[in-house]
Each structure stands twice: as C-alpha cells, then as structure tokens.
Amino acid sequence: MTTAIQQHLDEIREIAAEVLEIEPEEITETSSFAEEHEADSLRAIEILARIEKKYNVEIPQAELPKMVNLRAVYDVVAQHAGWAA
C-alpha cells in the first residue's frame, strides 16, 4: 500500500473515530460502522460532511449507503476526489 493511500485512510479513520466517539484503533478497514460502531444515519452524514470539508470535495448523499466501513468510505472519496487508485 502506498504512503498516500495509508495517509488518507488514517485521516478518514481519525474523522470517523471522532464522529463515532471511539478510539481510531477500534476502526479497522472492514469493521461495520453501523453494526460494530453504533453509527446511525446522522453520524454517517456527519462523517461525509467532515470529509467533504477536509478534502474540499462534493460527495452526493446518494453515496451514503455504500459508505459502510472505512475501506468503502475511502473508495467513494477516492473516486470523487480523483485520487489515483
């Protein structure tokens, strides 16, 4: 994994942890926000909003259902921010 990807993942993990009120270490790439970290729809939108602000991208709310864990969030953001895979 390249450093750039790792850095983005860590940044998103930090954001998600803050919104979900848990420690970043508790979030793995595939741990489910809803089932393992008690995320509800409001917290999901909040994560999206903070990511939009941080990376200055616009992500449609229609993408929310896809954003179920850290890896999935990264993929959606990468697509909209034009990050190289």
């Binding site: 509800d40 729809s41 409001l42 939108i45 909003a49 709310q61």
Partner: protein
C-alpha cells in the same frame, strides 16, 4: 361530556377560511415556490402563504408574520363559532398554540442586517400571549412546541382543558412560517424533496416546508347548545406515545405510533371498523411514510384496503408545528362533508405503502376520522374526530 368543534379558521397556501381551504384541498393543486423574500436563505422552496398581512394591506416585514397568520385564523374561528368579541365576555377562553419556530424571523433580520436588535427581536414565542392580551383571554394560554406534533398536542391539551373546566371555550391550533435556520437544517439532513411534497409516492425524497395557521374553537356540546352554536364535529380522544428511539428517525417498527393509534381508539370508544377515514401525518419522507403505512394497515386490520386515507401535506406542504392543527381542521371538514381530499402529486405509488389513497376525492362513510401527527424525537399523537350525533 362531549366536546365539539364550533368554529374553524385557517390561512393556508390554498386559501383562507374553511370554504376556500376545503375547495383547495379537494382540487389538490398547489406547488412550492422558490423562497425569494429572505436574504441569505439557501436555494430551496416552500408552499407559501401569498397574503400580505392580517389586514390585507402592504406588508411591513417587521410585523411578526407567524403571529399575523395565527391572529387571522383565530379571528375566523371565533367568527365562525359566533363568538365575536371575547373582550366583553364573561367566558374564560383559553388558547393553545402549537409552533416549531414561532416568530424567529425578527432575529433573522437582525443577523442579516435588515434590523437592529431590540426588545422585540429576541423572543420568538410571544405570539400566544400577544393574542391573550388582544383578546383579553382569562383561560389558560399555552404554547406547545413538540416539533411537528405540536399542533395536534395543542388541540389535545385544549380539549382536556375544556373537559376539566379550566376554560369554557378553547382556541386550539398552530402557526408556522419559513425559518431560515430550520430550513437550512432540513436541507443539511437531506430531508427536503427538490420537486414537491409527494407522500406515498415511490419517488418521494423528503418533505417540503409549508406555511400557515389553523385554529379550532372547542367547547362542550352543552355549552354550544346553550348559546345555539352549530357543532361541526366532536373531538373524541387522543392517544399519546413516544418512540424514545432517535432524535430524527422514527422507530422503524412503528410500535409506539401504533400504541398511540390504539390508545386513541380505546379512549374514544371506537373500533377500528368504525374509522371512516384517516388523515395521515404523511410527510413525504421515505421512512416516515412507510412506517405510518405499516402502522395504519395493522391498526385498521381487514378494513385497511378500503378505508380511505389522505395526506394533506401533499397540498399544503409540511407546516411543522401547525401541521397537526391543519389535520384536525381537515378531519372536522371531512366529518362534516363526508368526503376526503385527494393525495396530490401521486405519480407512482410506493408498493410498500398499501393504504387506500387516491389522487381524487374519496367518499367517506359514516363514522369517525382518525388523524396522526408524528414528530422529531419520535413524539406521536393520534386523535379521533367524530360526527355530531
């Protein structure tokens, strides 16, 4: 003691006064307008009230608009009930006002520079007391702000107040106008339909703000008879509950909403098969409509497929704290006319919403009308409005 409705008043996006309002609901034609009169407001739309102000004169935008709408609805309701001037009256008249954001516009004007801060700009909820002073009311005057169920709770609390003898007559209703911060919050949550309000439609995307005020005059049947007032309908009973689940999402199982419905029927002494029609909360929000459909299907039982159901927000938009009062006023008119207004904007029905909705007016048999109001915080109320025997 039987409680009756003897007067109605409303200022709505489809007209003022019970007659224009009823015709507007039956026609089911309305559309949200872009909001252009508020500086800095997000690009969105709402079902607006076209009127200038209470007197029909050119509007002074410093006047508290929510109060203006409420005052007009109250005056119409009093006139309709034949009560006229309450000031010379020995009656103890109460007033129960449901509102979400009240007259917050004054503070908005301070923030956007249209006005300087003053004694009349910081408190959004003085409208009920202002009316209390103007009408010289001596019964209870109360402002209820249980979000989108406030108007229905205002009617329920007013009804109890008359039943207990705290007031001889109660004015019960709600009033709401567009609030810039509240609209922005709804937009932020993705809860606004960009096209129009379309409850039970498969493509619904949220609700749409509506403005307006609706008021009812409540008194005991004996009191109405003694002064030869003509009752339009009875207010039978209410069932209350709270999901205790989430601030914005209804509990998907609808268990508490169902309990409110059953409790309303039980208290009214009405069986599900005696419900002739339902005035739904029907906001156009995907989860809300689906939950309400399930709850009503279960409550109505075998009659669910044929009991006519409407959702007036499809015509009026969602007037927040006034919405429940509009539903009460609508139910009273349904009982009086035995017709149910259509659900507007019904293009493709959501197959998960299996209630007897129609894009045309439906005939209503004998019996009572059930209405629901569900709010932010999972606060539920159902009321039964019955025919006058």
């Amino acid at each position: 003691m039987t409680l009756v409705i003897t007067g109605l008043g409303m200022v709505s996006p489809v007209g003022e006064g019970p007659e224009a309002y009823w015709q507007g609901l039956l026609a089911g034609v309305s559309a949200p307008q872009p909001i252009t009169d508020r500086p800095g407001i997000p690009d969105s739309h709402a079902y607006r009230v076209a009127r200038a102000d209470a007197d029909g004169s050119t509007r002074d935008d410093r006047r508290p608009r929510c109060l203006d709408l409420a005052r007009s609805a109250v005056r119409q309701a009093l006139a309709g009930a034949g009560l006229g001037d309450t000031r010379d009256s020995a009656l103890h008249v109460g007033l129960f006002l449901g509102t979400g954001t009240g007259d917050g516009e004054a503070a908005e004007q301070v923030r956007d520079g249209r006005r300087s801060a003053g004694t009349d700009t910081w408190w959004a909820y003085g409208g009920a007391a202002r009316l209390g002073d103007e009408l010289e009311l001596t019964g209870p005057v109360q402002t209820v702000s249980t979000a989108c169920a406030a108007g229905a709770y205002a009617v329920a609390l007013a009804a109890q107040s008359v039943l207990r003898g705290e007031a001889d007559v109660a004015l019960a209703g709600g009033a709401e106008v567009v609030s810039r911060p509240a609209l922005a919050a709804f937009l932020r949550l993705g809860a606004v339909d960009p096209v129009h309000c379309r409850p039970f439609d498969a493509k619904r995307q949220g609700t749409v703000y509506g403005e307006g005020a609706a008021f009812l005059v409540l008194e005991s049947a004996e009191h109405a008879r003694a002064r030869s007032a003509r009752p339009l309908a009875t207010v039978d009973a209410g069932g209350w509950s709270c999901d205790g689940h989430h601030l914005t999402a209804p509990a998907a199982d609808g268990r508490q909403a169902a309990r409110a419905g059953r409790e309303a029927l039980r208290r009214a002494g009405v069986l599900p098969e005696q419900i002739a029609a339902v005035v739904c909360h029907g906001t156009g929000t995907p989860l809300n409509d689906r939950t309400e459909s399930r709850v009503m299907t279960e409550l109505l039982g075998p009659r669910a497929a044929t009991t006519p159901v409407t959702a007036v927000k499809s015509v009026l938009g969602h007037s927040g704290g006034a919405a429940g009062a509009f539903s009460c006023a609508t139910a009273a008119l349904v009982v009086a006319h035995r017709r149910l207004p259509p659900v507007a904007n019904l293009d493709v029905r959501d197959v998960e919403c299996r209630l007897a909705i129609s894009s045309s007016p439906q005939p209503v048999g004998s019996g009572s009308v059930l209405l629901n109001a569900y709010a932010f915080g999972g606060n539920n109320i159902s009321l039964v409005i019955g025919p006058v025997s």
